[in-house]
Amino acid sequence: MHVTSPVRTPLVTGGKTYADVTEDICKQVEGKPTREWTIAFVISFVVLIYGTCCVFWTWWEGLGVWGLNKTVGWAWDITNFVWWVGIGHAGTLISAILLLFRMKYRTSINRAAEAMTIFAVLCAASFILMHMGRPWLAYWALPLPNAFGSLWVNFNSPLVWDVFAISTYFTVSLVFWYMGLVPDLATIRDRATSKVSRYIYGAFSLGWNGGAKTWARYEYISLILAGISTPLVLSVHTIVSMDFATSVIPGWHTTIFPPYFVAGAIFSGFAMVQNLMLITRVVFKLEDYITFEHIESMNKIITLTGSIVGVAYITEFFIAWYSGVEYERYAFLNRMLGPYWWAYWAMMTCNVISPQLFWSRKIRRSVTWTFVLSVIVNIGMWFERFVIIVTSLHRDYLPSSWAMFSPTMFDIGDYIFSFGLFFTLFLLFAKFLPVINMFEVKAIIRSASEKLPKSVSGVAKGESVTSPTFNKNVE
């Protein structure tokens, strides 16, 4: 039924059968936690507790514990917010946009990438709550009537758009991810040996039985969810960029921001997916599912989006000069040569130069290079947001109010909190839910397996597999 050219490189190696897929993925859920997992979980949890204390103190004492001053009123909080939202974008890109493009390689990575999206958006939202200072009044951002003592929210403001964008994005991503999980949860339910897990996975699998009519509707809603998530994900970072672009601050007031932010978001998100997947594939022994083809395909997207980001940086500079506005020119020269030059050049090196190394096939198929460069990309993307936010603010129109920003232990501690939250949630996900979408992998295995057996489920385990010899240079 799946017609695939024999010159395509296989997406799943090792001659897996349908039963092998179930076994390989469910093993992680059903077995006892591994030592590596336990150690990683304990570390993440300790980090989360430390971070929670810092966040609690930030709220208890007030935002004065941060390094903000009257000139730099946004710094690490919004930097971290934009950084995490950006990371989240890759999950939606993989699950929605690659689905619309019928990219089959997404099937091995979409589950974990979507989980990453949800956890990253939670981390981002936590910075919104933190920077409010009084999080118990967060509901004031909702359009509530005057009885609460305030006017209606101003729908002209991108900050209000952001409230709607982030909450919609979180909800829709969660629904999309959960709907994707339901058939796989049913698989775990039907294999479960203990009463507790049969009950829990039974409840979460919603009574799924995989009937043809249900599947037909399921495929239909998946397609529509992908169709609406695609413009949604583009709108989210567009709106985040408008938080800056609609202001009149030199360095922020830039029409290039929406596409530039979206490209940067996908860029950093794919780097985070690489980091998570490279670890998961080794710890959970999923090398047959997350192959060098997957790593290479993602690296190509990193190179593409990294190049878009690079072009955007240069365009911004050109326009700052070409505009003839002296404040605009100064803002950009100050970024490059001012007191924050090191942040600017860290950003340029990490984001513009390092992804270009992936033009080498050897580097983009190397696990070590990919891991290291992905970390570098995410460091670079953090600095990008820091540069945009802090260097545009710290020297404004009045030289008498020029100031520098330096983080306190609470700026750092609140950032550490988000790492603790992110990795704790990701590890819980990796242990208790199938990290690879089993049913989607099964659906592509016939066209994607190294061997094209007449009956996939009939192939015995460990049977010798001949790999195609002509697939090396064909994409």
Binding site: T22, F164, A186, G207, W215, Y218, I221, M438, K442, S457
Partner: protein
């Protein structure tokens, strides 16, 4: 599917391969046997068409939910910005609708997603307390399972079993609920 009475008796054909089960549906139907449903571990394209299931209309529901979301935000922005407490911002109209397009879009997407998924769950009878009617537990793993309701077919159990075997079923079992 709770409408089945206790005496419902099914013949269950278990297939090993998705392509075989897809062909088997046509063969079993042409032998005059009515198929209750086919259960598979992953979606098989064309299976619903082969079984004669009508095309889903859930897209219409999704559109209507989206429209509801859109109109909700049009009304809310109009009420708050244009009617209840109008303000002149930047010298523009009170109801400066281009600035409200982002929130209108977001609510359209939110309502579409939640409404459509809710409709999907209701129309398929899915929910946290639902006990699924499983004809064979392996149908969520690696087997493709065709269920035949004996009470809805004239042929004998033996006749139907041989049709199933001839169509490529590796096993034929009896399941009573």
């Amino acid at each position: 599917m709770s409408h089945h009475n206790d005496s419902a008796k099914f013949l269950v054909g278990v297939y090993d391969d998705d392509e075989v089960v897809l062909k088997a549906v046509t063969e079993v139907k042409s032998a005059g046997v009515r198929i209750h449903e086919v259960y598979t571990p992953f979606p098989i394209h064309g299976l619903d068409v082969a079984l004669g299931h009508p095309r889903t209309r859930i897209g219409i529901a999704a559109f209507l939910f989206g429209l509801t979301g859109f109109l909700t935000m049009v009304s809310l922005t109009y009420y708050t910005m244009g009617y209840d407490w109008p303000m002149i911002i930047g010298g523009k109209d009170n109801y400066a609708y281009p600035a409200y397009i982002p929130v209108m879009f977001e609510l359209t997407v939110l309502f579409t997603a939640l409404g459509m998924v809710g409709t999907f769950l209701v129309s398929n009878g899915l929910g946290p307390t639902v006990k699924p009617l499983m004809f064979d537990l392996r149908s969520t793993d690696n087997k493709f399972v065709m269920a035949i309701d004996l009470s809805k077919n004239k042929q004998s159990e033996v006749e139907i079993a041989s049709v199933l075997r001839a169509s490529g079923a590796a096993e034929v079992n009896v399941k009573q609920f």
